[in-house]
Symmetry: C2
Subunit: 472 residues, 2 copies
Amino acid sequence: MDGHAPAASRLDAVLARQDADFDAALERLNDLLRIRSISTDPAYKADCLTAAESLAAELKDLGFEARVAPTTGHPMVVAHHDGASADAPHVLFYGHYDVQPVDPIELWEADPFDPEIKTRDDGSKFIRARGAADDKGQLRTFIEACRAWKEETGTLPCKVTIFFEGEEETGSPSLEAWLTEHGEELKADFALVCDTNMWDRTTPAITASLRGMTAGEVIIKAASRDLHSGLYGGAARNPITLLAQILGQLHDDDGRVVLPGFYDGVEDAPAEVIEQWKRLGFSEERFLGDVGLSRPAGEAGRMVLEQIWTRPTAEINGIIGGYTGEGFKTVIPAKASAKVSFRLVAGQDPEKVWTAFEKHVTDRLPEDCEAVFNRRDTGAPALNVDVTNPALQACVDALRDEWETEPALMGSGGSIPIVGDFKRHLGMDTILAGFGLEDDNIHSPNEKYELESFRKGIRSWARILERLAAKG
Amino acid sequence: MDGHAPAASRLDAVLARQDADFDAALERLNDLLRIRSISTDPAYKADCLTAAESLAAELKDLGFEARVAPTTGHPMVVAHHDGASADAPHVLFYGHYDVQPVDPIELWEADPFDPEIKTRDDGSKFIRARGAADDKGQLRTFIEACRAWKEETGTLPCKVTIFFEGEEETGSPSLEAWLTEHGEELKADFALVCDTNMWDRTTPAITASLRGMTAGEVIIKAASRDLHSGLYGGAARNPITLLAQILGQLHDDDGRVVLPGFYDGVEDAPAEVIEQWKRLGFSEERFLGDVGLSRPAGEAGRMVLEQIWTRPTAEINGIIGGYTGEGFKTVIPAKASAKVSFRLVAGQDPEKVWTAFEKHVTDRLPEDCEAVFNRRDTGAPALNVDVTNPALQACVDALRDEWETEPALMGSGGSIPIVGDFKRHLGMDTILAGFGLEDDNIHSPNEKYELESFRKGIRSWARILERLAAKG
């Protein structure tokens, strides 16, 4: 015995304290929801600062060394707590205190900044307010977990850095520069982000992979002006045909992208992950049927969840050339263009993929045609959490304990920019665990957060911190 | 001796009479050019009728049985002359008495309906007026040839039917119905049309082939709504990609169209025609270079003139799908569409080609995608004059005699609707011989016709009639 209570009973005490404190936790959430921290509207600049200051003050009360860090836009909140053990991992927690605008205001049942707890016929409750789910309710699940640990044990089980942003809803314009200058201060063993959803109402989820992307426009130019297809047809190069040929050759008959090296470094999801996905009861028929499709169109022989979470793609997102109005014009146009994007998975380099695409195009160009490329930006690599990572396993175990069901280890076909920023600037992996639901109406009128998400979310983080400390 | 002069001296006498009468012929042309027969503008309806009546009256004076035939729009002029010999072929001559509008009027040097003869520094002369080349000057070359024959010999060497239309510049809205009802009256061994150009200023030309066309739109539909490429990319069918694949497979690596049966019945131009084209001194480099191209893009191993005159094509004239605005949107659209046309040559059936195209598309459709086809119309087959046809040879010989150079036997990559109408309604081939030049400004301000075109055009038709009669 080292004077501490055994881990299990210590955690039980923390959870019990949290439960006893739940009404006060709800009040603290309400206080934050009342602040009109709409980041995109300059009229609410002071409100954003108020939100940041109230969070920093609260974290100070909880024993964090906390401050409001100015940026060229809305400020960051940065806080550090050493925790109980130098052996436990150091975690960075990320959330954002800014919210979406409330338009169309007339569709709200009540003032978006006057939070209200509503009860359904089945007894379930939710809190309605702008930001309830995205992201004030979610970020407070972590703060309340810290609070319960601090109040019960006098400290936190791990070293924790907290980083709250105030510009997430406006594309984080100040983030890049701020991370470049101050990023080292956020460096931890890994990041935890609470800004995602559960698999369903009873199944928690961790998003363990995010696809990256590289994208841009290609313009194929042939003749110096539009030509009449009667006069020139058969002799003049048709850039639409050429573009169709070039882009029509991006995939083979099995739906695989033919760019040389495209799949270099791409690995199949581990068998245990695939097995876990199979157990989720995902209905491919319903997923596709909901949008009028019946067959997975991607790589042959892959489950839909594999196709959208773990496999890279080449998509034509837009194409235009020649006469596209009513009726007909027998024109051979001077040019045709397409917007093309590649969703990337771990192992792929956006730069190499884009370069291979340009080569795919230029290799197929006749000598009197020209291709102009307008690349969108430098692209973003995919992000994968190593599923054998003990930290991830600690989170999974903690969520299983709390929700009494196997958590879903999800991929995400899209991207979450902050995860790439942490990887790029700090070399740090991120574990995404969140308690939102599909029907939370984020970015829409009558946004809400389930009280059960809030309560069990807090308890989940309390357990995760304990599990992480135990693995340290 | 049968009381007639021998053919050669008879023709010489006709030509001499024409030369002596040239100033009067110019006056008659001026009279017609002064009539404001703008078919598209109802304000000039009476002028159109006046033009038709004056032509019918003149043809009556020349011994034709002539009348003004009403239509639902502007009237036709129909005239018949039995000619000297029942053994000679019966020819139908077509021209149109209506003209284009004159806007922008401010760009004309003078009143478009006040014809003026202008002389260049090199002594060459032209007549400036709306319709001088298109088509009043051209149609009068034939009338004046008939006049010279009639006045010199008392008759015409062949049986001649004349058909002048008054709605050519508005797309001939009344023609189809009129031909259906009265077409038989126009039936002859073949038609002569004077509404085309010379090869160049000193080289006459006969247009011996016209490509046909079938065209339409294809819409590929996949999901029931636009999808986000992060969420669905890799599993959902992308209709742009599918369209690119389908249309990108219309041609093989040698530029040939892959539709099964597409080239059935298509024959190479005869060697003598190819040889003749080679002698024309056509510069592929200049033809393509003028529009910024350097390489013939069609079927490998074919001359450009072959490609545009004698070979069928598949062209994508327009394509659109997905996001085509500024910036980027990672969308997988619900549909994508293209406008496609096929230029056809002799031996091809527009119906079969379009059907083969639809099959090409539907054969490549996954089962949950749909293709919608909006065919433009029933299409038009190509028209070829048999180059071994004695009538064509007679025209070639006559033009060679007059212009003292080998006439160009041209193809046309586009189509001239009346030729298809004659073929479809009357089963009649057409020989197109005209004396216009590229720089005649038809449909533009300051339209003109070379006096040399008018004079040698009249002499050419006089010779053609004589040659045709001799071959009868």
